[in-house]
């Protein structure tokens, strides 16, 4: 299915749950925050939220900063 991640279109063929998508991308779900269609995904739903065609994800993490 076609989804958008951090502003870029991509094709995802894995299981339609967020935890699987993150692992597919090489990301530890515990170390990021995710918006799905501009709504924040609560931490307890990080594994279970569904991934549907057309979804737009923002995947954010902490980096060094002042």
């Amino acid at each position: 299915m076609k989804i958008s991640i951090n502003g870029e279109d991509s094709e995802y063929t894995g299981a339609p749950v967020l935890g699987e998508l993150l692992r597919f991308l090489g990301i530890d779900p515990k170390q990021v925050a995710v918006e799905r269609n501009r709504g924040i995904v609560p931490r307890k739903e990080m594994e279970s939220q569904s991934v549907e065609a057309g979804d737009e994800f923002e995947i954010i993490r902490l980096v060094g900063g002042g």
Binding site: V34, I60, R61, L62, V63, G64, G65, G66
Partner: protein
């Protein structure tokens, strides 16, 4: 009782807050944090690079020892700042936020209107808000009234290392503040941090000056001492300054 910095009811022994940007490696950053004695360290939020997810900074910071203070850097208005703050909380951070709204990339000066707007929203949403502001005493009061936990006036522009160019206004902020005043941005040398604390600021936040030093770990230790010296001098009560000399040796009993 031990001298402590208290922010939103939480006690800190160190009056130096440290930023984690611009370090050459996670290892150097980690050792610099240790030698700074800081208990509050700032971090930023950015999109994960999908080609290179890499290591999280969370792996380098022991969160049982340090309070992570995420910032809203990159936000150009209140809406973006609120969004970043909520993302930081969703990333597992405590609801503490260094609020910065900097629409102008050249000087990174904070937008007072958007900062106040964001602060009001975030305080209502349960955040402990530490706003980065221009050294404006009226704005500081307005933020305090809105319920922010500190005010953080800038000494000079972020990363400029120019020291405290806003001294008179910061003095007025300190005079009127009922929340801790943290001088943030532009502190380029331990003497600048000492100056901030001597003036009566409650704490100083330093990043660039430590991160870009030839030896960041040693510089972090120097800033620790600068902050401590400034605080001790403030508590000891500085003598007033005057234009003419005042002899420190007795003026009687001269050999004639």
């Amino acid at each position: 009782m031990e001298e402590a910095l208290i922010i939103a009811g939480r006690r800190f022994r160190s009056r130096l807050l440290m930023g984690t940007g611009k370090f050459s490696s996670a290892e150097v950053m980690k050792r610099a944090i240790e030698s700074s004695g800081a208990e509050i360290v700032t971090v930023a939020l950015r999109r994960v690079e999908l080609e290179n997810p890499g290591d999280s900074i969370l792996n380098a910071i022991d969160r049982t020892k340090y309070l992570l203070l995420p910032n809203t850097s990159g936000a150009r208005d209140a809406e973006e700042a609120v969004r970043l703050a909520r993302l930081a909380r969703a990333a597992g951070c405590e609801p503490w936020i260094k609020l910065e709204v900097t629409p102008d990339p050249r000087y990174l000066l904070p937008d007072p209107v958007e900062t106040l707007k964001a602060a009001e929203i975030l305080v209502k949403d349960g955040f402990v808000v530490l706003p980065y502001i221009q050294a404006d005493p009226i704005l500081a009061k307005r933020l305090e009234d809105a319920g922010t936990a500190t005010v953080m006036p800038l000494g000079s522009p972020i990363g400029s290392n120019r020291g405290i160019k806003t001294r008179d206004a910061i003095e007025i902020i300190i005079e009127g503040a009922t929340v801790p005043v943290v001088v943030d941005a532009g502190l380029g040398a331990p003497s600048h941090a000492a100056e901030a604390l001597e003036m009566g600021a409650d704490a100083a936040l330093v990043n660039t000056a430590i991160a870009v030093a030839r030896d960041p770990v040693a510089m972090a230790a120097a800033f620790k001492k600068g902050v401590e010296a400034g605080r001790e001098a403030f508590l000891a009560g500085l003598g007033g300054s005057r234009r003419e000399a005042e002899a420190s040796s007795p003026l009687t009993g001269f050999l004639r």
